[in-house]
């Protein structure tokens, strides 16, 4: 997969057959199916597309790209849209984890798991350890620990 700067030009060959949505493993969770996101792009509703919650549900499994009869690279477009959304500040989602991850890769070229774990643990201070404790209790009650 090549990361494209601009996801828009590729969407116009889509004929809206719906094969991407019917084979999508996560579409049932979303208000928008991948077909709809592409349709928004075709109609020029960029903001609508960029704000779609589907983008962040997409698992990048590429099932849609493989099944597309017009060779539209759906998963790639979803990825491009995520980037767009961040650039244009359309995304309301908490992106701290993505940012930490990206920063680490950019600086060192690899992830230090300990650092990542620590950052993640400290991110929600002071509630985080308490949350974990509650979770521990639940797990213990069901015999998972």
């Amino acid at each position: 997969m090549v990361l494209a700067e601009d996801p828009i030009p590729k969407v116009f060959s889509c004929v809206q057959c719906g094969r991407c949505s019917s084979g999508c493993p996560v579409a049932f969770e979303s208000v928008h199916t991948p077909r709809k996101v592409i349709r928004f792009l075709q109609m020029g509703l960029l903001e609508e597309a960029g704000k779609s919650p589907f983008l962040w549900l997409c698992a990048m499994c590429q099932a849609c790209t493989v099944r597309c009869p017009r060779r539209v690279e759906v998963a790639e477009i979803m990825l491009g849209l995520r980037r767009w959304g961040i650039e244009r500040k359309w995304v309301r989602k908490d992106l701290w984890y993505y940012m930490v991850f990206k920063e680490m890769i950019e600086k060192r070229g690899k992830i230090s798991e300990l650092r990542l774990g620590l950052v993640a643990a400290l991110h929600k201070i002071p509630l985080h350890p308490i949350e974990d404790a509650i979770l521990f209790f639940k797990l213990w009650r069901r015999g998972k620990i």
Partner: protein, 787 residues
């Protein structure tokens, strides 16, 4: 050889309504022509009726004072034909007359100097005169031809076309590779729009064939070689053994009872793809039959056939059982030869191998079937509750089949209608992208739409999953509501597409017929739809592209109509065919390679010779020859060269450029003519020569023109891919590149040769093009060879 005759040319200038004399000084023109060689009479007249010039010309012709006529001026087409007829009656060969319309070259158009226009007119007349001197009398050729046609493929197209040709009194040889005729249509159960049985139409055609007695049907036969030329093809075919004597078998069926070997019935019903991995069948489309059985797909001829590869060794049961001693197990393949004037190809189609579309599980799940299998299921449907139909299964998909097969929508609608008639309670889901029911098929769509429990879902499923109870789980998005559907189906029908049949591919390879990127026979669709780029061979029906039964029969008939001239006993050829000057030829084979209709062959000495019956007289060979050894009748190299030589490149002064345009007679010439007719200002700097095709312009003509000091050469052909002679413009483009090198050696800028595409109504563009080209050439400066 034509005996050398001293040309005696009569120039007749027709000043219609004084239009010419208003534009130029005609007296001066005639005076300037006074010294022209070989001219015995020159006259200006402004009335065609009285005093009648024709009768005096006829007299001169009979007396031998004239033998070539040059008509200058604008004649009405009807008048022109009449004059030609009248002079032909007086003994003048029609090819010894030349027509020079000054007005279409731009005389009297636009606001240009009278003296300059007169100069141009004189040059134009001298060009025409130079050509007239070199005209040769030509006679059409007549080649004896066989009045029989060969039809390859005994499907619905082949049978109906054969019946019509037989009606016209032609002998027809029909060859079919299966044991019986009927083709794919015989395997269908219903035809839309009448929902009728297709066997009825096939029987009807067969009865007509029988009655005419002029059709010879050969089954189990394939083409081996095709030799000869249109009008006189000789075809060798190979006939596989039938093992039953056609003269003796009475189709009583006793051998079938005796035969011990049961086999899977084969091609009655074409399956789409390989079935080795298909699970348990809910539906066995063809059933079992014996090794000796009726002819298939249609039991015509009525003689039985044995599939010898299935016979147990040394088994002679059928031979023992046969009451008429028709079984001949020792038969071998034989070869036959036919003489035919023309060949019609009707090799049809095959279903697209749907096993390739893996996501729908055809061939894996027994209740996923094709629309062809559904033909039989809908006839006697088992107990079904929910049936799904997937349209465009594999079609209109860049991964599989990137075109629409045009019939599948109507087929599905027909099957739904038929199924609902038999089982009204069945719930049908139709998954589609677009429903394409063109023309009156829309009625079918509306009828199905009005049915209860038929749900159209706009959206294709991505995958099919099996369920434990044997049903299929299909998930699809209804793209209208955006809702996801999760359906459980008993039967899933895939509407697969049509691809060219195995036989078509085989034949294209054997006869070297051009195919398009999908493997169907290629043609110039708007003008010659049944064209095969080989004269005397035409393709009709579904081997030309996906089409329904009605269109295939039409297409077959149209193809037959195209070859009728080769079936009438004689083939008449216009005398404008190519002639090779073998003393110049160095056997480079360029003409052979560039001929779009493959009409050249080698003679005994290794020289290329055009097969005149195959030739379409486009002149691409004239353009191809590096030694200018090829000439068309009435368009010889000498004639064109003399015309170019007659142009005085300095008549406007050294600074003003002169352009020579070669115009293709199909598109560019009518565009130029239209420009003059609509009174557009055509600059006096341009002269044009009409050519049969842009591909017929030899590089020598261009080099000649530039060598004589003409500043620019404009070649105008058709738009890309629109050439009536397949590839004329591509040829010009490649030749132009080759010429550029030569021009650079002559210290001539390659920009002095220009190729442009003109459409037939591009009159204004033609004028703009010429004007801008002249301006460009002015900037470039005069041709170094200009005097």
């Amino acid at each position: 050889m034509i005996p050398k005759v001293i040309p005696k040319v009569g120039i007749f200038i027709y000043d219609a309504g004084g239009r010419l004399s208003r534009a130029i000084d005609l007296a001066e023109v005639v005076q300037r022509l006074a010294k022209a060689k070989n001219v015995t009479r020159r006259e200006v007249f402004n009335n065609l009726e009285a005093p009648d010039p024709i009768s005096s010309i006829q007299e001169d012709l009979r007396a031998g004072r004239l033998n070539r006529i040059l008509w200058v001026g604008r004649f009405p087409d009807a008048r022109r034909r009449r004059i030609e007829g009248e002079l032909t009656a007086a003994g003048l060969n029609p090819y010894l007359q030349e027509w020079c319309d000054l007005e279409e070259q731009g005389i009297g158009r636009g606001d240009f100097d009278r003296a300059v226009q007169a100069q141009k007119a004189i040059i134009l007349i001298q060009m025409a005169l130079a050509r007239t001197r070199l005209l040769a009398p030509l006679m059409p050729l007549e080649i004896p031809a066989v009045d029989a046609a060969l039809i390859i493929g005994g499907g619905v197209t082949g049978l109906h076309t054969a019946a019509s040709l037989a009606d016209l009194g032609k002998k027809v040889f029909l060859i079919e590779k299966e044991s019986g005729v009927g083709g794919k249509v015989a395997a269908l159960r219903r035809l839309y729009p009448l929902i009728c049985d297709p066997h009825c139409g096939l029987e009807f055609a067969l009865q007509k064939l029988e009655k005419s007695g002029r059709v010879e049907i050969h089954t189990l036969t394939r083409v081996k070689t095709l030799a000869g030329s249109p009008g006189n093809f000789s075809v060798r075919v190979e006939k596989q053994p039938r093992y039953v004597d056609e003269q003796k078998c009475i189709a009583c069926g006793e051998c079938i009872t005796a035969c011990p070997k049961e086999i899977q019935a084969g091609n009655t019903f074409p399956l789409a793809g390989d079935f080795s991995n298909r699970g348990q069948q809910v539906w066995n489309p063809n059933g079992l039959e014996k090794a000796i059985h009726q002819a298939r797909p249609l039991a015509y001829p009525s003689t039985y056939v044995i599939e010898r590869q299935h016979c147990p060794p040394e088994c002679r049961e059928c031979q023992k059982a046969c009451p008429t001693r028709a079984v001949e197990l020792e038969q071998t393949a034989s070869e036959l030869e036919f003489k035919a004037g023309a060949v019609l190809i009707a090799t049809g189609w095959d279903p697209y191998p749907l096993t390739r579309v893996e996501e729908y599980g055809y061939g894996v799940y027994p209740n996923v079937v094709t629309n062809l299998e559904m033909e039989h299921i809908s006839e006697e449907p088992p107990d079904l509750q929910e049936v799904g139909f997937i349209q465009c299964a594999g079609s209109r998909d860049e991964r599989y089949l990137n075109y629409c097969s045009s019939v599948c929508c109507s087929i599905t609608l027909k099957q739904v209608l038929h199924l609902k008639e038999k089982r009204p309670g069945v719930r049908c889901y139709i998954f589609y992208q677009d429903i394409r029911t063109s023309g009156f098929d829309e009625e079918l769509y509306q009828r199905v739409k009005s049915l209860d429990q038929v749900i159209f879902i706009r959206g294709d499923p991505a995958t099919v999953k099996p369920e434990e109870n044997g049903r299929l789980r299909v998930r699809a998005e209804d793209t209208f509501s955006g809702k996801e559907l999760d359906l459980h189906l008993d039967l899933l029908v895939l509407a697969g597409g049509m691809v060219p049949s195995e036989g078509s591919r085989e034949l294209a390879h054997l006869l070297k017929l051009p195919q398009n990127s999908y493997g169907f026979f290629e043609a110039h669709l708007p003008c010659h739809p049944e064209e095969s780029q080989r004269t005397g061979i035409r393709a009709g029906g579904a081997c030309r592209g996906p089409m329904n039964v009605v269109h295939s029969i039409e297409s077959g008939h149209r193809a037959a109509f195209d070859v009728l001239p080769f079936l009438s006993g004689t083939v008449r050829l216009e005398p404008t065919y190519p002639v090779l000057n073998l003393t110049k030829c160095d056997k480079c084979k360029r003409c052979m390679e560039e001929c779009p209709y493959a009409s050249f062959y080698f003679d005994g000495n290794g020289f290329p010779v055009p097969d005149l019956a195959k030739c379409r007289q486009c002149g691409n060979c004239v353009g191809s020859c590096p030694l200018f050894a090829v000439s068309l009748g009435h368009f010889t190299v000498q004639q064109v060269a003399s015309q170019i030589q007659a142009i005085k490149s300095g008549f406007l002064g050294k600074e003003e450029p002169v352009v020579l345009a070669f115009l293709c007679k199909n598109d560019a010439y009518p565009a130029a003519k239209g420009a003059a007719e609509s009174g557009l200002p055509i600059p006096p700097n341009v002269f044009f020569i009409k050519v049969p095709c842009a591909g017929s312009i030899n590089n020598a003509f261009i080099a000649d023109a530039l060598g004589f000091g003409i500043d620019g050469v404009l070649i105008a052909g058709c738009q890309d891919d629109q050439c009536h002679y397949v590839k004329g413009n591509q040829l010009v483009k490649t030749r132009k590149e080759n010429l550029a090198e030569k021009l650079q050696k002559m210290v001539i800028e390659p920009q002095r040769v220009r190729f442009e595409s003109l459409e037939i109504r591009d009159s204004r563009r033609y004028v703009d093009l010429v004007t801008s080209y002249i301006a460009e050439l002015k900037k470039m400066g005069p041709n170094p060879f200009k005097t």
